[in-house]
């Protein structure tokens, strides 16, 4: 079920959709527990887990010390021995602290052990700039994770998708990173009350169009949609695709779209060089070269750390205007 097919009904903001996703994951699976820094007593920094401690108690909703390496290690060990850990690494920037546990343990244990271990681990974390939190609290590091065989990565940017992504991840027998968008916490959307999942590795077609395919993920789906509105006023019909799952990636949906529109633009908030968009652009070039009318375009962050000063950060983070301008350049209308 995609957002478009969801029954019209209850609205929930992104934060509360997160809470509900974790709550239902804990309700349906007695082996599931949640752990992280300030997740229990405080409900985390944006209140995304508020109320879970009261409902599930301190044996299942656990405040950890400030020990990211320990947190992922906990998930690896507990996951490999029968529990279903849901752990939180507050801001994605902090995965630097636990990259060994992620890359060398969590991702590889099953393969190294000849398939004899199962790691049903969910890692929740927040990414993204735009709040003037500077270089170490604003990054989008999803490419690091996508480059690591053994991990699945989903980047939900609507209230519907974030709840579904969390439940999907919690039911999945593999490590899944749910990379949430800290800039979307107040975003409302339709969210069904019952638990539901998202098909793993299936993209969302957010809008259909004929002249250009824009592939955007994370918070950029909203900028891409805005850009599509602007371009529509200029007679340009844009198809907007949110891969949603960056690992595994829905290559088919992207290629089918480009085969129809003959033009492609890839958008993300992360640094452009070596970003997930580079992989998507390469796949389009490999698989849809004969359909392309122009080289694949990319709009993403420049090659610098995220600057603090709002004027610089605004220049740094891609937006609808820049997406529209690049679209015009690709189509030769600008």
């Amino acid at each position: 079920m995609t957002a478009a097919e969801a029954p019209a009904g209850r609205q929930l903001v992104y934060t509360l959709a997160i809470t509900e996703g974790v709550r239902q994951a804990l309700q349906e699976e007695p082996l599931a527990f949640m752990a992280g820094e300030d997740v229990a007593g405080a409900g985390s920094v944006f209140g995304i887990y508020r109320g879970l401690l009261d409902e599930f108690g301190p044996d299942r909703v656990i405040d950890t010390p400030i020990s990211e390496s320990g947190i992922i290690g906990l998930a690896v060990g507990a996951g490999a021995t029968g529990l279903k850990p849901i752990v939180d690494i507050m801001f994605m920037d902090f995965i630097g602290e636990c990259m060994d546990e992620i890359v060398n343990q969590l991702a590889k244990m099953r393969y190294m052990f000849g398939g004899k271990a199962t790691l049903p681990v969910t890692v929740l974390t927040m990414s993204g700039a735009g709040m003037n939190l500077a270089a170490q609290h604003s990054q989008s590091l999803e490419a690091w994770l996508c480059h690591t065989p053994g991990l699945k990565v989903v980047m939900p940017a609507t209230a519907y998708d974030v709840k579904g992504a969390i439940i999907t991840a919690a039911r999945e027998p593999n490590p899944v990173f749910v990379v949430m968008c800290k800039g979307l916490m107040a975003l409302p959307g339709e969210v069904p009350e019952e638990p539901y999942t998202l098909p793993i590795g299936k993209a969302n077609v957010l809008r259909e169009g004929d002249n250009l395919t824009v592939v955007a993920h994370g918070r950029m789906i909203h900028e891409a949609t805005k850009a599509a509105d602007i371009l529509e006023g200029e007679g340009i019909s844009v198809e907007v695709i949110d891969p949603l799952w960056l690992q595994p990636l829905d290559t088919d949906t992207i290629i089918n779209s480009v085969s129809k529109t003959h033009n492609a633009l890839v958008v993300h908030e992360a640094v452009r060089f070596g970003g997930v968009g580079a992989e998507i652009a390469a796949q389009i070039a490999e698989l849809a070269f004969d359909y392309l009318d122009a080289p694949v375009g990319r709009v993403a962050a420049p090659f610098s750390p995220v600057p603090f000063s709002p004027v610089l950060e605004q220049t740094y983070v891609p937006n609808a205007e820049r997406i529209a301008a690049e679209a015009r350049r690709i189509l030769g209308t600008g």
Binding site: D38, G41, V45, I66, F308, S309
Partner: protein, 359 residues
């Protein structure tokens, strides 16, 4: 040697390591100059932070500020012993460390405002505010990032002292919270400093909480200083609400580090009077009103002022004049920040790399 007239920004700062040695090797009775110096540093931090907190909550200063209010005695008591050649590493709660190390209000507020005239040209903001020229190696957004960096600085200090044939070394002081001592980085740094007898003084600002989690729930000890034993270095506890107590404990440890005696872990028991972020915070009730009141009653600044009056070091009028002068500096500095130019977006990519020398 104290109180030279060429001190920056009205704060008497010893100008080189030798001055600081001379100062810290004084008997453990602080001179009148030291008492006044401690006071001035604390008052500068307090007013700086109160005004910064207001600017944040009025939406004038962007981003999130972690304020140092309540913990002023720690930074001040340590920094009196350090020169610009000694380094510190700071935390997310870093303004107080920079103010105490002689930070200029103009450049600090300008940084909080994201202006080109700020210490970091607006690139870093509160969480990365720094002054490398004065040995302030940055506030840090990553908990426990400081201690390993301070170990590197201390390694450098020892290396250079040996190259230059000096007995006395510059010292590196990492500041970090109770919560930070649960990160592996802290432990790796402590071990390396100890085995190599590096001139490091680890200063733990134990304010009883990591964000909203009380110490009793994040570690099974109540004295962080106990961790020193595991690395073979002395662990000392002092009253972090008393600038003289910090000055004494830090002085001894810094002296030992300078002269090659190796690292010390100094734990300062302190408290933050405001929330984890900003003044009001996010309205979570993780501390009782009674607890807050108990600690507020031990406010390091009135305590120190009362003592100075009793000792006849300063009169109430003189003390008031210090506050007034600091406030005047703040008003002028905020105005400076507000009128300062914004960074030019065309320069966004500057300073990602140091230019490679032409070969």
């Amino acid at each position: 040697m104290r109180g030279r007239s060429d001190a920056r920004d009205g704060v008497p700062i010893p100008l080189c390591a030798e001055d600081a040695v001379a100062n810290s090797s004084q008997a453990m009775e602080p001179s009148e100059e030291v008492l006044k110096d401690l006071h001035l540093r604390m008052v500068r931090i307090r007013h700086f932070e109160e005004e910064a907190g207001k600017l944040m909550e009025q939406g004038k200063s962007p981003g999130a500020l972690h304020l140092y209010i309540g913990e002023e005695a720690v930074a001040s008591g340590v920094m009196v012993h350090l020169s610009d050649q000694d380094q510190i590493t700071s935390t997310h709660r870093g303004h107080g460390h920079l103010v105490a190390k002689g930070g200029e209000f103009k450049k600090m507020y300008a940084e909080l405002y994201g202006r080109e005239t700020g210490y970091n040209k607006g690139r870093g903001g509160s969480m990365h505010i720094s002054n490398v020229d004065a040995g302030m190696l940055g506030a840090n957004g990553i908990v426990a990032a400081g201690p390993p960096i301070a170990v590197g600085a201390a390694f450098s200090n020892k290396y250079l002292a040996r190259m230059e044939g000096r007995d006395s070394m510059n010292v590196a002081v990492p500041f970090f919270g109770d919560g930070a001592t649960n990160e592996g980085a802290f432990h790796e740094a402590a071990n390396m400093a100890a085995i190599w007898k590096l001139p490091v003084v680890f200063v733990c600002e134990n304010n009883g909480y990591g964000e909203f989690t009380p110490q009793a729930e994040h570690q099974a000890i109540s004295d962080v200083a106990d961790r020193a034993a595991g690395y073979g270095m002395p662990g000392v506890i002092c009253d972090g609400m008393d600038a003289i107590a910090v000055w004494e404990a830090a002085g001894e440890a810094i002296e030992r580090a300078r002269s090659g005696g190796g690292p010390t872990l100094v734990e300062c028991k302190t408290y933050r009077f405001v929330d984890h972020v900003g003044l009001r915070g996010i309205g979570l009730h993780y501390r009782t009103d009674e607890e807050l009141e108990e600690w507020r009653a031990r406010d390091p600044i009135p305590q120190h002022e009362q003592r100075m009056v009793e000792m006849g070091v300063m009169t109430a009028e003189e003390i008031q004049a210090v506050h007034d002068a600091v406030m005047a500096d703040i008003t002028e500095s905020i105005e400076f920040a507000e009128n300062s130019p914004l960074p030019d977006p065309a320069n966004l990519l500057n300073d990602v790399y140091t230019p490679t020398a032409a070969s």
